[in-house]
C-alpha cells in the first residue's frame, strides 16, 4: 500500500534488572497505518528472532485497553501521543512516514525495570492488598437490592473503579506519585455504602503502603489525569486527602 510508512525506532534495551540499559535504533519499514503500535513492534521482533537476536520484551496481554499490562513511554508520553487510550489501542495512523519514535519503559523508583520495556509493578498489588477491599466473606451477603444507591453515586464510583492499574499516572508524574491510582480505589469504596465501615482504616493503610513503596508526593500538577488512559479525575485525590486527614484528625480506628 502506498501510504505505508518507514520509521526509525529508538528502543530502550536492558538485559535485566542489574544490567545497564541503552537506547538502540531499529528500522521499521512498510508499516501499515492500520497496525496497532504493538503489532508494529511484533513485526520488528519477528525480524529480530529470524536473525537469532533477542526480541524486544514488553508487557502486553488483552490488546483491547483493559488489562493494564501494556506500559510504554512513547516520545516522552505514557501510552503515546493520544489521549484516553492505552498503548495497545494506539494505531500507527497517529504517526507519519520517516518519524523517529523513542520507546522507553515507565521510569519510577516504584517500578524497577525487569527487562527492556517491562517493569515490575508489584508495588501496586501490595498497595491494594493493604486495604483495597471490603471485608465480606463469600456467602451471607444480603439481597443486592436491599440498599438503594443513587445513580449519580453509583456512576461516580464506577468512574473511579475503571482504573486499569497500568501505572501511567506514576510514569507521567515528575514526582512519580501514585496518588491517582491509590485515590481511585479509595474513592470507589468510600462513595459506596458498603465501603463505609472500613473507610478510615482503608485510606490510612493504603497511603502508608504507598509511601513505603517509594512513590513520591502529589504537587497537583495534574499530569496523571492528563495521561490516564481511563481519564480518571484528580477529584479522587482530593477525596482521598479529605478522608486521610479526617481519619488522622479524629484518630478513628487504626
Amino acid at each position: 500500500m502506498s501510504n505505508n510508512m518507514n520509521l526509525t525506532l529508538k528502543v530502550w534495551r536492558q538485559k535485566n534488572a542489574e544490567a545497564k540499559g541503552e537506547l538502540v535504533s531499529y528500522q521499521a519499514d512498510h508499516v501499515s497505518p492500520d497496525m496497532s503500535f504493538l503489532e508494529m513492534l511484533d513485526v520488528v521482533n519477528e525480524g529480530l528472532i529470524k536473525k537469532g537476536d533477542d526480541p524486544i520484551h514488553f508487557d502486553h496481554d488483552c490488546r483491547e485497553g483493559i488489562c493494564g499490562s501494556c506500559s510504554l513511554h512513547i516520545n516522552g508520553r505514557p501510552h503515546g501521543p493520544k489521549q484516553g487510550i492505552t498503548t495497545c489501542q494506539l494505531h500507527m495512523r497517529s504517526f507519519n512516514d520517516k518519524d523517529t519514535i523513542v520507546i522507553e519503559p515507565w521510569r519510577a523508583e516504584g517500578f524497577p525495570v525487569i527487562k527492556d520495556l517491562a517493569t515490575d509493578r508489584s508495588s501496586f498489588d501490595r498497595i491494594q492488598r493493604a486495604g483495597g477491599f471490603i471485608s465480606v466473606n463469600t456467602g451471607g451477603a444480603p439481597d443486592a437490592n436491599v440498599i438503594p444507591i443513587p445513580k449519580v453515586i453509583a456512576d461516580e464510583a464506577f468512574n473511579s473503579a475503571t482504573c486499569i492499574g497500568c501505572g501511567a499516572c506514576v510514569a507521567a508524574c515528575k514526582n512519580a506519585s501514585a496518588m491517582l491510582f491509590v485515590s481511585a480505589k479509595v474513592s470507589q469504596l468510600a462513595l459506596l455504602p458498603q465501603g463505609q465501615p472500613e473507610r478510615s482504616r482503608r485510606v490510612q493503610a493504603m497511603v502508608a503502603q504507598m509511601d513505603a513503596e517509594g512513590f513520591g508526593s502529589c504537587t497537583n500538577t495534574g499530569a496523571c489525569e492528563a495521561e490516564c488512559p481511563k481519564e480518571i479525575s484528580i477529584t479522587n485525590i482530593a477525596r482521598m486527602n479529605r478522608d486521610y486527614f479526617s481519619a488522622k484528625l479524629f484518630k478513628s480506628e487504626e
Binding site: S32, D42, I49, R93, G139, A144, F158
Partner: protein, 644 residues
C-alpha cells in the same frame, strides 16, 4: 475407566441442596492443615482462592501475568446473568436453566446447569457486597439488559466493562486473603505440569518467567482455573497470553478432555484488516439490544459498496436486508451467538459482504440514535463506540459498524464431574477451563456467571468432600514424582531451546490458526476435517524441526514462553479435529454441513450423539481413546431449537 458424573439423585431443584448436605466436611481446626493450589486468577481462580482461604485453607495461587488483576476475565464486556427477576418479566431459576440448556443445544448436563442458575442470584448479592459498581436506575436499584437467547432482561452490567468490575471484586477479595497471610501469591509463574502420585494430583511444576527457575509446589488438591483455548485459532478475542498449556498438561497426566470441538464464534467482532493482525476485538453482544444487523439486499449493491462507488448511508431502507429480523421474528437481532454467526457467514458466502475485504456485515445504530438520542446511546455503549473508532478510524455514531464473527470462547475443556473434579483425583477444573455448563453453545453473559459460580459457590463445598478423605498431614515435594516431573519439564524446555530453524513460532501459530479456522471453524465437513488433520500433523513435525527459539531458559524469555504454548496448541488442534470428526451431527457452534435442516439450521442427532465426548490421552502420537458420557434429560424435552 467408566465415567461417573456423580449427579445426585432426586428432583432437579433439590439436587444441589441435598448434595451439599451429603458432602463430607472438614472441621474448622483441620482446614488450616490443608494446602490447595489454584492456578489462574481470573474470575474462577480469584474467587476460588479467596473463598477457600476465607474458610481457613492455605492457598497457593499462581498466574503468568504480572498481577492477578490482569487475567483475561477483565476484558468481558457485556454482563452477567442472574435469575433475580428484578424486572418482573417472568424470569426464574427454572427459566434461566431452560434458556441455558436450550441455548447450548441440549448438550450440557441438566443438573450442572440448574445449579448454575440456582447460585446465579447469590453471585449478584456477593458482588454488590464487595463494592462492584453495577449500573443502577434513578431509584437506586440495579438495572438490567437483555442478551441473546433469552426473552427476559436478567443481565447485570457495569457499562461495557462488567468483566473488569467483577474481576476487580474477586481480586479485592483475593488481596484481602493475601494480606491476612492465607493466600501466597505467585505472579509471573507459569504452570508447566501437574505432579501425580498414585493417580492423585499432589502438586505442580512451575517456571518463574523472570529468571527461568523451575520450581515444584506440593498441595493436597490442585484447581485449574486457567481459561479457554480459543487462541488455537491464532486470531481470537482472547488475550495474547491465553493458552491451553495447564489444561493440556493435565490431560496428558490423565484428565479427560471433553468436547474439544465446541468452540464459540462470536458474531460481533471487528473484522480482520491484514496479515499483521495479532488479535480481534469483540463488540459486546449487548449492542444487539439497540443495533440492527443488516447487509445489502443484492450482490450488485454489495459490490458497489466494496468498490467505494456508493456509501453505506446512500442505501435506502428497501435496499437493506435485516436478515436476523427477517428470519427470526421472535428473537430478531437477539438470537444466540451460533445462529447469528452462521447467518453472517452465509451472507458473506453469498457475496453480499461489505468492507474492502467483503468479509463483514453491518451493525447499525441509526434507528436507536433517532429514537433515544445520541447521548443515551453514548451513555450505554460509549466505551465500545470509542474502541471501534480507535481501531477502524470510522465513527459508528455516523455510519454503521462493520462486524464479522470471531473465535471468542471454548465450551469444551477438561471433563469434570458434578463436583468439578477431573478424572484425576484431587485435580479440579473451574470456569472456562472445564466443559461443564454450556453444552454446544454458550449464551451471552453466562461465562462470568459460571466462573464465579464455580469459584464462590461450588468448589468451597465440593473440594472439602475430597480433602476429608486425605490425611491432614503437611505436604512437601520429597516424593520422587516431583523430581521426575520437573525433569520432564526441563527436558522439554531444552528441546525447545535447541530449535534453531528458519521459521518463527508466531508463523507456525498463524498457520495453525488458518487451518483451524478454515476447516474447524463456523462450518465443518468430513472431507475438510480429514484434510486438516494431515495438515496439522505435518505442521507439528515441521515445528519440531524448523522453528526458531531464541535465548536461554535462565532469563525473561517471551519467545520461549510462546514456543511452549504453541507446541501445545499444535497437539490440541489435532484432538479438536478428531472430536469434530466423531460428532457427525450439528449442534450449537459445531456445524457439520452434512447435518442441517431444510432451513439451514443445525440439525442434531439425539439418537446417536446425545453424549459428552471425553477423550483420554494414550501416549505421544497415539490416537486418543473416546469415552462417552450419555446425557440424560429428565426435565426438558429435546426439540429442534427454534428462535423464529
Amino acid at each position: 475407566m467408566k465415567l461417573d458424573a456423580k449427579i445426585p439423585q432426586g428432583p432437579l431443584a433439590e439436587k444441589w441442596s441435598k448434595h451439599k448436605f451429603n458432602l463430607k466436611l472438614v472441621n474448622p481446626a483441620n482446614k488450616r492443615k490443608y494446602t490447595v493450589i489454584v492456578v489462574g486468577t481470573g474470575l474462577a481462580g480469584a474467587s476460588a482462592a479467596a473463598s477457600l482461604a476465607e474458610l481457613g485453607y492455605n492457598v497457593k495461587a499462581f498466574c503468568f501475568q504480572d498481577s492477578p488483576r490482569r487475567a483475561h476475565s477483565i476484558a468481558a464486556q457485556g454482563g452477567i446473568n442472574g435469575a433475580k427477576n428484578y424486572q418482573n418479566d417472568g424470569d426464574s431459576i427454572y427459566r434461566l436453566f431452560y434458556d441455558t440448556i436450550k441455548g447450548g443445544d441440549y448438550r450440557a448436563r441438566e443438573a450442572n446447569v440448574y445449579r448454575l442458575a440456582e447460585v446465579s442470584v447469590n453471585i449478584i448479592d456477593q458482588c454488590v457486597a464487595q463494592g462492584v459498581p453495577f449500573a443502577r436506575e434513578y431509584g437506586g436499584l440495579l438495572d438490567n439488559r437483555s442478551f441473546g437467547g433469552s426473552q427476559v432482561s436478567r443481565t447485570f452490567y457495569a457499562r461495557g466493562q462488567t468483566g473488569q468490575q467483577l474481576l476487580l471484586g474477586a481480586y479485592s477479595a483475593l488481596n484481602r486473603q493475601i494480606n491476612l497471610g492465607k493466600v501466597t501469591m505467585y505472579t509471573r509463574h507459569e504452570m508447566m505440569d501437574v505432579v501425580t502420585v498414585d493417580g492423585e494430583a499432589k502438586g505442580i511444576v512451575t517456571r518463574d518467567l523472570i529468571n527461568g527457575a523451575i520450581e515444584t509446589h506440593a498441595a493436597h488438591a490442585v484447581l485449574l482455573c486457567t481459561g479457554g483455548y480459543g487462541n488455537v485459532f491464532y486470531l481470537s478475542t482472547n488475550a495474547m497470553g491465553c493458552n491451553v498449556t495447564a489444561a493440556w498438561k493435565a490431560h496428558k497426566r490423565g484428565a479427560y478432555f471433553a468436547n474439544p470441538c465446541f468452540t464459540q464464534i462470536h458474531p460481533t467482532c471487528i473484522p480482520v484488516t491484514g496479515d499483521h493482525q495479532s488479535k480481534l476485538t469483540l463488540m459486546s453482544e449487548s449492542l444487539r439490544n439497540d443495533g440492527r444487523v443488516w447487509a445489502p439486499k443484492t450482490k450488485e449493491l454489495a459490490e458497489k459498496l466494496r468498490k467505494g462507488e456508493i456509501k453505506v448511508t446512500d442505501l435506502k431502507e428497501d435496499d437493506r436486508d435485516y436478515f436476523l429480523e427477517r428470519k427470526y421474528p421472535a428473537f430478531g437481532n437477539l438470537v444466540p451467538r451460533d445462529v447469528a454467526s452462521r447467518n453472517a457467514k452465509e451472507i458473506v458466502d453469498e457475496g453480499r459482504g461489505v468492507g474492502t475485504s467483503g468479509i463483514a456485515v453491518y451493525l447499525d445504530f441509526a434507528e436507536s440514535i433517532a429514537r433515544l438520542g445520541e447521548d443515551a446511546v453514548r451513555a450505554k455503549y460509549g466505551n465500545l463506540f470509542d474502541m471501534y473508532q480507535q481501531i477502524t478510524d470510522e465513527n459508528p455514531y455516523k455510519q454503521p459498524m462493520r462486524i464479522y464473527p470471531a473465535v471468542h470462547y471454548t465450551m469444551g475443556g477438561l471433563w469434570v464431574d458434578y463436583n468439578l473434579q477431573t478424572t484425576v483425583k484431587g485435580l479440579y477444573a473451574l470456569g472456562e477451563a472445564n466443559f461443564s455448563d454450556h453444552g454446544a453453545n454458550r449464551l451471552g453473559a453466562s461465562a462470568l456467571m459460571q466462573g464465579l459460580a464455580d469459584g464462590y459457590f461450588v468448589i468451597p463445598y465440593t473440594v472439602g468432600d475430597y480433602l476429608a478423605t486425605v490425611a491432614p498431614k503437611p505436604v512437601d515435594t520429597s516424593h520422587p514424582a516431583f523430581e521426575e516431573t520437573k525433569k520432564v519439564v526441563v527436558e522439554r524446555i531444552n528441546k525447545l531451546l535447541s530449535l534453531k530453524g528458519n521459521k518463527t513460532v508466531s508463523e507456525y501459530h498463524r498457520e495453525l490458526g488458518h487451518i483451524m479456522w478454515e476447516y474447524c471453524g463456523m462450518a465443518r465437513t468430513e472431507e475438510g476435517l480429514k484434510k486438516a488433520k494431515g495438515l496439522i500433523q505435518e505442521l507439528k513435525s515441521d515445528f519440531w524441526k524448523n522453528a526458531i527459539v531464541t535465548g536461554v531458559n535462565e532469563e525473561f524469555n517471551q519467545n520461549l514462553e510462546n514456543a511452549g504454548r504453541v507446541a501445545d496448541f499444535l497437539e490440541l488442534g489435532e484432538l479438536m479435529i478428531d472430536d469434530a470428526l466423531d460428532r457427525k451431527e450439528s449442534c450449537g457452534g459445531h456445524f457439520r454441513l452434512e447435518s442441517q435442516t431444510p432451513e439451514g439450521e443445525a440439525l442434531r442427532d439425539d439418537e446417536n450423539y446425545a453424549y459428552t465426548a471425553a477423550w483420554e490421552f494414550k501416549g505421544e502420537n497415539q490416537p486418543e481413546g473416546l469415552h462417552k458420557e450419555e446425557l440424560v434429560f429428565e426435565n426438558v424435552k429435546l426439540t429442534q431449537r427454534s428462535y423464529k
